[in-house]
Amino acid sequence: MTVDRRSLPVPEPPPGIQFPAVTRSQLQPGLRLWTVERRDLPLVCLLWLWHAGTSADQADTPGLAALTADLLDEGTSALSMSALHDALAGIGGQLDTDIGHDATVLTVLALSRHRERAVELLVDMAERPRLAPSDVARVKGLRLNRLRQLRHSAGALADLLFMRRLYGEHPYGRPGIGTEASLTRFTVEQVQAFHARLVATPATVIIVGDISHDEAEALVRRHLSTPERTPHPSPPVATSPTGSRLLFVPREGAAQSELRVGRVAVPRHSPAYHAMVVTNMLLGGAFVSRINMKLREEKGVTYGARSSFQFLEQAGPFSVQASIQSETTAESLRDVLVELDALADVRPVTADELDSARDGLTRGYARGFETAEQVARAAAQLALFDLPDDTFDRFSDRVSSVTSADVTEVARTWLRSADMQAVVVGEPSASLTGLGGVGLGVPEHRLADDVLKG
C-alpha cells in the first residue's frame, strides 16, 4: 500500500484524560497528605509544599526565604550534612529544592524499596534541619558568590530587572536570591527564626508512586513534630509603579541583547485564565506562535522568542523573552510591540489559529502527566492555589470553549503596547541604536548593582 502524499492524514481526536485519583488525609490542622498510587515502576516521588515562598520575605530581608530553603538539606537534627547526603544517595534519591514567589517545595525521588527511609529524610529536612552556624555561614557565602555571578548572566539579569521594573517594592519585584547587602547581613538567628515560622506554615505533602495511601500516612505521621500551623498573609495586590518604561543595561562586548517586554497581568484565579492560556499559545507560547514565527522564522534574528503569563497568587507577569542579534534590537522590540497590538485589532486571531492553539493545548494535555514527578507537581498546583479537584479533567472543555472574541478581549485588555515595559541587556553601541524610537520613551540606564547590591 503506497502513501497518498497529496494531503496530510487527519488525526483522530484523542480521548479525554482523567487526572489520577488523589487520596487525601488531613494529618494535622494545616497539614494535608495527598497520594496517588502508581505501581508501574519501583519508585516514589515525595513532595513537601509549604504555602509560602519568597513573598514571605520582608522588605528589608530579601533572600531570607531562599537562604533558609537552601539550608534544608545541609544536615538535620539526626544527620550531619555529609551523612544526610550519603543517606539520600543510598536510596537512589534525587533531591530538588525550589522556591517561588508563593511556595517552597522539597522534592525527593527515590527507589520504592527505600520508601521508609525516604519519608523519614524528607520530613527531617522539612521540620528539623540542622541550621548550624558553620553551615549557615558557608551556604551564605556560596549564595553570595552565585549572586555575584548573576551580574554576568545577561538572561538572569534581564529577568531580575524586569520583575523589579514591573513590581517595584511589591514582594514579586524583589530578587528572591536576595541582595549582596541582605545576604551579608543575615545571622543564624534570623535563619532559625525564619525556619520556625516556615514550619508553622500550612503545608501539603504529596506522594506519588509505588506506595499505598495508608502506608504513606503512617510513615509521614511517624516523623511529624510541628503542632500548629497558621497561614502567612497573602502578598498585597500588585500594580506597576510609574516611571521609565524602557530600561537599558549595558554589557560591554555582549554577543546578543537579552530582551524582556511585558506588564503585570492577572492571578491564577482570574476568570480569564483559559482565554489567556489560549491567547498566549498563539501569540508566543509555542514554536508556531506569531512572535517566534516573526523573529526567528521570518527574520532569523533569534534562536527563539516566546511569551508567557505567569499565574501566581496575586497578579503575575505577562512577558515576552528573547535573545536578539544586537544590531536588530530596536527593530525586534518594535516587531514585538506591533505583534501585541495587531492581535487586538488589525490582525485579530484567525479561525485557523484559534483551532490550532486550542487543539494543541487539549490534544497534548495527556503528556503532562507521564512521570510521578509531573503528577506530583500538578497536584501541588491544585494544593497551592486551592483549585477544585476536577481542574485538570475540565481543562480541555474550558479551553475548547474559548472563542475568538475572548482572545480579542484578552489582547485589548492585557496586551496593548501602550501598557508594556521593557528591559534590554546588551552591547551599548549596537543594541542602543534606535531604541529610543520604538515608542517606549527614552531608554533609562540601569546597572546590575541597582538590583543586586541592595
Binding site: 503506497t2 502513501v3 502524499r5 497529496r6 496530510l8 492524514p9 488525526p11 483522530e12 481526536p13 484523542p14 484524560i17 508501574d40 515502576l41 519508585l43 550534612m81 555529609s82 547526603h85 550519603d86 544517595a89 543510598g90 537512589g92 534525587q94 525521588l109 527515590a110 527507589l111 558557608r138 557565602g141 556560596l142 558568590n145 555571578q149 554576568h152 548572566s153 545577561a154 554589557r251 554577543a255 546578543q256 509555542a286 514554536f287 508556531v288 514565527m293 527574520k299 532569523g300 533569534t302 534562536y303 535573545s323 536578539i324 542579534q325 490550532s356 492553539a357 487543539d359 494543541g360 487539549t362 490534544r363 497534548g364 494535555y365 495527556a366 503528556r367 502527566f369 507521564e370 512521570t371
Partner: protein
C-alpha cells in the same frame, strides 16, 4: 532491567523497533540518523547541526513548517545533533501517529525539492544566533570548545564543536546541503522507534507503509580516527566576562561501553557527584577553596573524555585549586574507594536507569534509549547489560581505571575574569577557540 521490544529491518535497510506501553494514550516516534558533527571535516564544521534545522522547514509534499500540523495535533517535538548522531522525535496522541509518520517519512525521502536558498539563509542566521545565545553570550560558554580544541588533534572529529565555527557556518552552501542529505539521510543510515500506546503489528504495518518505498541510499562507512593522545600536559587560559575563575581538567578516557567506561562513570560520581562526593566535601565544605565541583565520564562513540570542573572561591588561585584536586585524584589512583561509596554510586546508577523508564518519548525516554542501544551496539535490548556493567564494577577496578586513565597527560584550562590572568593557571598559554 529490560525494555521489551521487537525489531525488524525493512527491505530498504531501515531498522524499526516497537515497544508497547499503554499507560497513556500517546505514542513516541523517535528517529536516529547515524550522522553528527564527527562526520564533518575541518573548515566545514557545524553542518550536521545546521542541516537538522532545515529538516523542520518543510519537504516536497508538505512545503510548510514542520511544527504547525504536529503542534495542533497535540504533539511535542524536537531534534538534536551531537558529535555522533542526529535525532528527531515527536510525542503524539495515538490518533496522530499517521500524521507524524507521514511527515517523518516525507522529510527522509523528499526533503530536497522543498529546500530553497531563502530557507537556508534564514536558518543559517538562526544557528548563528543559537551560537551567540548558548556559547558566546553565556558565562564560561566557550570553555568547552577550548578544551576540545586542546584535547584532540586538529583533525580529530571531536576537536570541533557540533555548533560549528561562525566562518564555516557562513560559508556553507545549498550544494553542501544536497550532498549531505544524499550521503546520510536515508533508511540504511537510520533507526526508527515507535513506543507507547500502539499495537505491535499495526506499528510495523505503518512503518512499512510510510517508509517502505524510500530508496535505501549509499553505504555510510564508519568514521575512523586515530586513538587520541596528548604528548604532555597542556595549560591554557581563557578570559571571559565572569565573576569567579573556573578550572577545567580533561583526560582522554574510554569510549562509550568500552572497558573502564562504567568504572570511570562510577568514579566520577564518587569524587564529583553531588554533595556527598569526595571533592565536594573536601574543596567546598572543608577547605572552602571552591564554590562547586563536578566530575563526569563523558563517553562517546569514538573515544571518551573524563572531565572535572571546579569554580574557585573568591581569592583562591586556580593553581591552588588544581593542586587540591590533584591530591584528591592521587588518592583515587592509589587506594580503592570504600565499599560504602561504591554501593551508593551503584544504587544511584540503578535509580537513574529506573527513573528513565518513566517516559516513552523525548530526549532520553525509552524510545531514545532503544535507538541509542541499536545504533551504538546493534542491540536495542542492551539496557540490561548496560546496567549490569555498573553492578560488576568493584573498588579494585575503579582504582585500576583511575590509575590507567587519570595519570596520563591532561588539559588544564583556567577561565578567568577579563584582565585577571594573575589568578589563573601559571605558565598557561592563551586558549584557541574557533
Amino acid at each position: 532491567m529490560r525494555i521489551p521490544f521487537t525489531r525488524r529491518t525493512l527491505s530498504n535497510g531501515l531498522d524499526v523497533i516497537v515497544h508497547e506501553d499503554h499507560g497513556l494514550p500517546i505514542v513516541a516516534v523517535n528517529l536516529w540518523y547515524h550522522v553528527g558533527s564527527k562526520n564533518e571535516r575541518r573548515g566545514r564544521t557545524g553542518f550536521a547541526h545546521l542541516f537538522e534545522h532545515l529538516m523542520f522547514e518543510g519537504s516536497a509534499h508538505h512545503d510548510h513548517g514542520y511544527f504547525a500540523p504536529l503542534q495542533r495535533a497535540g504533539a511535542s517535538l524536537n531534534g538534536s545533533t551531537s558529535a555522533d548522531r542526529t535525532n528527531y522525535w515527536e510525542v503524539v496522541p495515538s490518533g496522530a501517529l499517521d500524521l507524524a509518520l507521514w511527515l517523518e517519512s516525507d522529510r527522509m525521502g523528499h526533503l530536497l525539492p522543498a529546500l530553497t536558498q531563502a530557507k537556508f539563509d534564514n536558518q543559517r542566521d538562526v544557528v548563528l544566533n543559537e551560537r551567540r545565545q548558548n556559547y558566546e553570550n553565556r558565562p564560561y560558554g566557550m570553555a568547552g570548545l577550548a578544551v576540545a580544541e586542546a584535547l584532540y588533534d586538529h583533525e580529530h572529529p571531536y576537536s570541533w564543536p557540533t555548533i560549528g565555527s561562525p566562518d564555516d557556518i557562513k560559508a556553507a552552501s545549498l550544494d553542501d546541503v544536497q550532498a549531505f542529505f544524499r550521503a546520510y539521510y536515508h533508511p540504511r543510515n537510520a533507526s526508527l522507534v515507535l513506543a507507547g500506546d500502539i499495537d505491535e503489528a499495526h506499528a510495523f504495518d505503518l512503518a512499512e507503509r510510510y517508509f517502505g518505498d524510500l530508496a535505501p541510499g549509499p553505504d555510510v562507512p564508519p568514521v575512523q580516527a586515530a586513538v587520541p593522545r596528548l604528548a604532555g600536559n597542556v595549560r591554557l587560559r581563557l578570559e571571559d566576562r565572569v565573576e569567579l575563575p573556573r578550572l577545567y581538567l580533561a583526560w582522554h578516557s574510554p569510549a562509550l561501553f568500552a572497558d573502564d567506561d562504567a568504572e570511570l562513570d562510577l568514579l566520577a560520581d564518587v569524587i564529583g557527584g553531588g554533595k556527598t562526593a569526595r571533592l565536594y566535601q573536601a574543596l567546598v565544605v572543608e577547605q572552602q577553596l571552591a564554590t562547586e565541583v563536578t566530575a563526569v565520564q563523558y563517553s562517546r562513540e569514538l573515544t571518551g573524555m573524563f572531565q572535572m570542573v571546579a569554580t574557585a572561591a573568591p581569592g583562591v588561585s586556580l593553581d591552588r585549586l588544581a593542586l587540591a584536586i590533584e591530591l584528591g585524584l592521587a588518592e583515587t589512583r592509589e587506594q580503592p574507594v570504600t565499599a560504602a561509596e561504591l554501593t551508593r554510586s551503584q544504587v544511584q546508577a540503578e535509580a537513574h536507569f529506573i527513573y528513565r523508564l518513566q517516559t516513552v518519548g523525548g530526549f532520553s525516554g525509552k524510545s531514545d534509549q532503544l535507538n541509542a542501544y541499536n545504533v551504538y551496539r546493534g542491540d536495542p535490548g542492551y539496557v540490561g547489560e548496560d546496567l549490569a556493567r555498573y553492578g560488576r564494577a568493584s573498588a579494585d577496578r575503579l582504582q585500576q581505571a583511575a590509575a590507567r586513565w587519570l595519570s596520563r597527560p591532561h588539559v588544564a584550562l583556567g577561565v578567568v575574569p577579563m584582565g585577571q590572568t594573575a589568578i589563573g593557571l601559571s605558565d598557561a598559554e592563551a586558549a584557541v577557540v574557533a
